[in-house]
Symmetry: C2
Subunit: 242 residues, 2 copies
């Protein structure tokens, strides 16, 4: 009996996921755009004034230390760049993607234009929605964060970071687009490098910023669909790629 109840629950979840997928496709009607449903991760131990020192059930037992601004002993090594978790991992930039996939279970999507569908926007701050995006021969990290920069007034911050150096990041432009109910909001900028701290990007406000009321206007049944596009802003320099 319990087995059947669980099966029924799983089927309902699948229908709900399929329905959200359909809704996002309807909003971004461009054919062939990949829609990715991204579930939130609530950061239990998040400290807004410093680098992310979150610790979730997935990552229990990991030291709550922030490495983002600390100099790595070996200049070839970079600390874990996942903005969600404090993680003692260090490694070469080339293996950051596999670390984020395997250890932090962050999905990776292919395609120049994708739709990021963040669910459960009503959840209290601090909450993050994260995916990786593989495009133009590089990997990008899209972070949507709900945070109370001013106490009692949660805001949404969305930004894209290149899993690469700041020099490589300068070659790209990313665009985030919200489109619903005869309203459209577009943000275009150069991505930051994951070597920079995500928290400083958010505290500088140098990203797409949404008040709760504006986020609600663009949300559909608690989910926010963000269209993402990445283009090259410069001719690639072979040296920059190294």
């Amino acid at each position: 009996m319990l087995f059947f109840t669980q099966c029924f629950g799983a089927v309902l979840d699948l229908i709900h996921l399929r329905f959200q997928h359909y809704k996002a496709k309807r909003v971004f009607s461009a054919a062939g755009q990949l829609v990715c449903v991204v579930n939130p991760t609530h950061s239990l131990k998040y400290a807004p004034t410093r680098c992310a020192s979150a610790q979730t059930s997935v990552e229990q037992g990991v030291l709550p230390t922030c490495h983002h601004h600390e100099a790595a002993h070996d200049p070839q090594l970079v600390p874990c760049t996942c903005p969600l978790f404090s993680c003692p991992w260090e490694g070469h930039l080339e293996v950051v993607v596999s670390h984020l996939r395997q250890t932090h279970r962050i999905n990776i999507l292919q395609g120049a234009e994708i739709v990021f569908l963040a669910t459960d926007m009503h959840l209290p701050a601090p909450t993050d929605w994260i995916i990786m995006h593989s495009c133009l021969g590089h990997q990008f990290l899209l972070v949507l964060r709900k945070q109370e920069k001013y106490e009692g007034h949660p805001q949404f911050f969305a930004t894209m970071m290149l899993i690469g150096t700041p020099t490589q990041a300068d070659n790209f432009t990313y665009r985030l687009e919200l489109n619903r109910n005869q309203r459209r909001l577009k943000w275009e900028a150069t991505p930051r490098s994951v070597l920079e701290c995500i928290d400083s990007v958010i505290s500088d406000g140098d990203c797409l910023v949404l008040n709760t009321s504006l986020a609600q206007l663009f949300s559909d049944n608690g989910s926010l669909a963000i269209g993402i596009a990445i283009t090259t802003s410069k001719v690639h320099n072979a040296e920059d790629e190294m």
Copy 2:
């Protein structure tokens, strides 16, 4: 001697104005776009929780009453729609523009695409920057407001309102665009009618909202250039025009 000092001051002001004009043209490099330098108006008695009841030196002696939500005795008459001032004036929709120009000294600009250059963005809230925009056979009111929706955290709100009925407003789409330093922010929406209260538009957050930090990123030497474009979103209905 005093005369020469004043003349010198006036010349300096003109050079400064010309320089700002040039800067805005440089930012919005599209040829033929009209740049309008808009100076701020500080609202001394502004009450954020209700309709604008400001009283400035220009308007001293005017009753500080808000008419925006009160029913006019004659349904053909509308109250003064200027969001800056509380004004006891009532008149037909057709003469609102001349009232705003003559009594409130609000400039009117022609052209489908213009650049609104708001000066002195650093001034404390509440502050407004207003112009009228004549385009596609209609007049629009562009309002940029600096307001502390949350105490101690001023934000900028920009919106466009049609000097016409809500049915007429539905025929248009307005776009506000900020573009500076490899960053671009675009807001597109249907304008509201001036018959609706500007304060409710702002408290709903249904407009372009900028945090102080984001406004600073787009500002150049204390001035914010906003590109404005208006298009028709529907085929005009002859009945709606009446």
